[in-house]
Amino acid sequence: MRTKVQTLLNADSAGYSNDVNRLGELERAIMDVLWESPEPLTVRQVSGRLTERDLAHTTVMTVLDRLAKKGFARRDRNGRAWRYHAAATREAYVTELMLSALEQTGDRHAALARFARSVSETEATALRRALEALGRGKDGLRATGE
């Protein structure tokens, strides 16, 4: 098991192997557990709530540690055990992701080419009208065909 953890940790420098995906999956699964829990959880509690039950305690601990270092998880000490909770709600991160894509955050030019955006209500109204007209045209063609 120790070697498994080492492999996971080395995966960062090793590059783009399956281990990276594996580590990503673990981080994701553990964040899901933290997001769903109303109160902070110990490593053992997190392990217990993962669907994948055969994970080593050290593996879960390592991933939680990584998440804490990345700022996604926070930890506090309760007696002898560390307890972990999510730094922000899932919704908050989704909002951050979308705002950055919508270029509404500080970094306006993340160069994420967006498929389409209308920015003024006037433009949106004009587009809605164009869509309706296009729909009517389609229906009109169908009507003559019948």
Partner: protein
Amino acid sequence: MTPAALILAVFAAACIPAGSALAAARWPRRSPAAAIVLWQALGLGWGLATVGALAGFGAAGGASGVARGAFMLASKALSGRAATGTRRLLAGILGLRLLALAAGVVLLLLLCWILVAAFAAVVCARRRQQILLSLLAHGDPKVPGALVVDHPSATAYCVPGLRSKIVISAGALDLLDQAELAAVLAHERAHLRERHDLVLLPFTALLRAFRWSAVAREAYAAVALLVEMLADDRALRHRPARELATALLRVGAAGGAQAPNGALSAADWVADGQVAARVSRLLRPAPRLPVAAVALIAVVAVATVAIPAAFLTLPF
């Protein structure tokens, strides 16, 4: 001062109205790729000419190019001959020339710096996107190869890079039918495959640095629109125009309501009206530019870079 410096200054100044004219022109829509090349050449030519003009005003005249003249001036100043100059006037002129040379060097460094800074900001934002996506996004059989984020807004975008991603919001997934989703994917894949983000990067950098400049905004808006049109054209190789047009209309119409209290940011300002322009182009396509016209654009693009480059390096 060399005559070359004067020519370079005129050239640099002429690039500004040329950019405005290119932004206002209608023909780029008929051949986005050719127009994008011309924009790149115009940007590079302007940078070379401005730096060259400043350096050239400082450079020693006579039978030397701007680059060599600038080097001669710098070595003259360093060797201390200026200090021993008998007439103060001469020393003053030399000082002015050194100032112009320094301004040229500073501008060159500044232009390089804003490009590097813009690239760093972009890389940083994308890394954050990648991390958040790995925690939040999931796949969906309706959009093979893309990531879905559970958010009600109608959004689709791509995150370019080594591990590029196409992201579609749950709102867009609900809004669009299967054919329209396929058109969106084809459009985004074209962006990623042809690295349109790198095409836009210099103009993003210019906009970040010269946000107050109307020409920088016009240039960014024009190139951003051309890149979208280019991806639209590529998507048309795989999907019918109508599917792409209705997808654009639906996402565009839904997006307007999302804009917070109608306030337009600088980024929004440049995008106003672009969706409508793309849709009308898809539904009523103008004929592509003839080969001769594209060849002419290519010649102009080469000249736009070659002329300032020549005045910079060749003895004149």
